[in-house]
Amino acid sequence: MTDPILNVRNLTVDIPIGAGTLHAVRGIDFELNRGETLCIVGESGSGKSLTSLAIMGLLGKRLQVRADVLEFEGRDLRSMPPREMRALRGDRMAMIFQEPMTSLNPAYTIGDQLCEALRLHRKVSKAEAMTRAADLLGKVGITAAESRLRQFPHQLSGGLRQRVMIAMALMCEPDLIIADEPTTALDVTIQAQILRLLADLKREMNMALILVTHDLGVVARIADKVAVMYAGEIVESGSAKAIFDAPAHPYTRGLLNCIPVPGKTKPGEPLGSIPGIVPSLIGTVSGCAFRSRCELAVEACATTVPERSASGEHMYRCFHEPLKSEVA
């Protein structure tokens, strides 16, 4: 086993607000190897996007990011000077955002923006950069790449723009790509194509991929590893097969019961639901954050819940046995 490309131990993100501190990310651990896809799944406010932004070093100074270990390719990201961080970002690690319209500059051509991504990090001529940009546009499935380079973002459809974003992330052949809801704004037919493209490119270039999403269908189809986040914590993690076939945490099971699945849920019958709302993360948060919505909650849930192993690398944070609660 080689060293992981990304190693995160006890990552916390605190947001100081008027009344106190909002503990948005509360001590999460994971590691990621080359060629692996990690899906971080959770609902709004679970801290999944903040986690990815913290790794990329894109959070403002007002937010306090702490970690015991935050290493990328063996380099400590915590103490890295901003200058070095900027050199790393976009070169070795790249990010793809949800909304391809707002993350492209409307005043520059596609070609200019793709070249900039490369020429910031490499000493290459504009012409060489343009050739590479055209190559990559072809690779992400855009036809007539040469003419697309001279176009502006508004002349492309949403699916094409997201392909441009992927091409831009690939310009420097990064080792890690973080994609935050890359297909949420797209149509279903385009979503399947973009996800397939990401999976193929990851395999071909032997990259590591972190995909942040709330869509369990996407997670099941693309993930090697899954981390389920709730209220700033990873409540369950493991292989995609383990998580979907034998979900151990009541929250994961609840989420899986909430979505209609063609061929499995009966049309017209009520869907499962999770009562209540996400607790406030302001001030001291103790015990299992899900206990206020959990039907299995007991007194012990108000104390610190240890991480337990369901099988092998399949970990979860709950006092209850996964099998026993499945019957309930």
Binding site: S157, G158, V188, T189, A192, L216, A220, R221, G268, S273
Partner: protein, 333 residues
């Protein structure tokens, strides 16, 4: 269920078209963009018609026409068999109400929940303040909101609660038909299921008819009784939800169903051979609009508009189908 065919439709659209004049440059002449090209639909009481299609296919334009926010270029909207003209907008609003996608922008942040929910009653001059107040209380109870929120403001509510307020506002004047335009897309998974369950319960309880616009086919399968698939302003296939999901006919419908990602980790991401480009609606492709992306397309598809093949209450617009004794069957060409 046997008597379903004979019932009169509560809502009927006959051959609706909508053409916009679009300017592409400062000095260019406006060009016609046909957003809707001849749509006919019938909704019966308690039907849930799922309307699916990609962005830009005309789903929302159709919803706007039904709500009276746009006038069709040609064609008729009939409610209970009576034609609704441009002058009857208020009448239309009494019977057809919308629920929109984003409960963060569809509620006025400066109005209390009570004011928001009672506004339709005020606009339509129904009842006095005491009866309006009772109606609001009844509605909040119906959508599962506690009494205390009526003095609150949208900013104090979560996304799911706001969508419940939007539903209460839509139902307060007892409409027969509710247009749900992606009502759960902006919500979290656990909240989405609560709202879908609520919509299903309300339909049973109040006998509502829904036009349910969504890009989430799993949701459509769960809720809809009938499904219409739109492509570039036309309905290319319409049939019962059970038939559509058991045996999709139009190649576009099949591609849509293939792109549904069920949470099954043993499957990979499906390979959809549709190409990336949605055609330009200002110059739609000749013949079948779908032929440039269709895996089955022949020369005929590129030149001739496909026939409207109707069998019973199902139809499909495709050269490959013909009417046969047992419904629609594929025909080799």
């Amino acid at each position: 269920m046997s008597g379903m065919k004979n019932r009169e439709p509560v809502l009927e659209l006959t051959n609706i078209t909508k053409t916009y004049q679009v300017k592409q440059g400062m000095f260019s002449k406006p060009k016609p963009l046909q957003a809707i090209g001849g749509v006919s639909l019938r909704l019966h009481k308690k039907d849930v018609l799922g309307l699916v299609g990609e962005s830009g296919c005309g789903k929302s334009t159709l919803a706007k026409i039904l709500l009276g926010l746009e006038q069709p270029t040609s064609g008729e909207v009939l409610v209970d068999g009576k034609e609704i003209g441009p002058a009857d907008r208020q009448l239309l609003a009494r019977r057809i109400q919308p629920i929109f996608q984003d409960p963060y922008s569809s509620l006025n942040p400066r109005k209390s929940i009570e004011e928001i929910v009672s506004l339709p009653l005020v606009v339509h001059k129904i009842g006095d303040s005491a009866s309006r107040s009772r109606a609001v209380a009844k509605m909040l109870d119906l959508v599962g909101l506690p009494e205390r929120v009526r003095r609150g403001y949208p900013g104090q509510l979560s996304g799911g609660q706001r969508q419940r307020v939007a539903i209460a506002r839509a139902l307060v004047i007892n409409p027969e038909i509710v247009i749900c335009d992606e009502p759960t897309s902006a919500l979290d998974v656990s909240i989405q299921s609560q709202i879908l369950n609520l919509l299903a319960d309300l339909r049973e309880e109040l006998g509502l008819t829904y036009l349910f616009i969504s890009h989430n086919l799993a949701v459509i399968e769960h809720l809809a009784t009938r499904v219409a698939v739109m492509y570039l302003g036309r309905i290319v296939e319409e049939t019962s939800a059970a038939d559509l999901f058991a045996g999709p006919k139009h190649p576009y419908t099949r591609a849509l169903l293939d792109s549904v990602l069920t949470p099954d980790p043993s499957l990979a991401v499906p390979d959809i051979h549709l190409g990336a480009t949605f055609p330009n609606p200002i110059s739609p492709p000749p013949g079948c609009h779908f032929h440039p992306r269709c895996p089955l397309a022949t020369d005929l598809c590129a030149t001739k508009v496909p026939p409207h093949v109707q069998a019973g209450s199902s139809h499909v617009d495709c050269h490959f189908y013909e009417k046969s004794a047992d419904g629609l069957s594929i025909q080799p060409i």
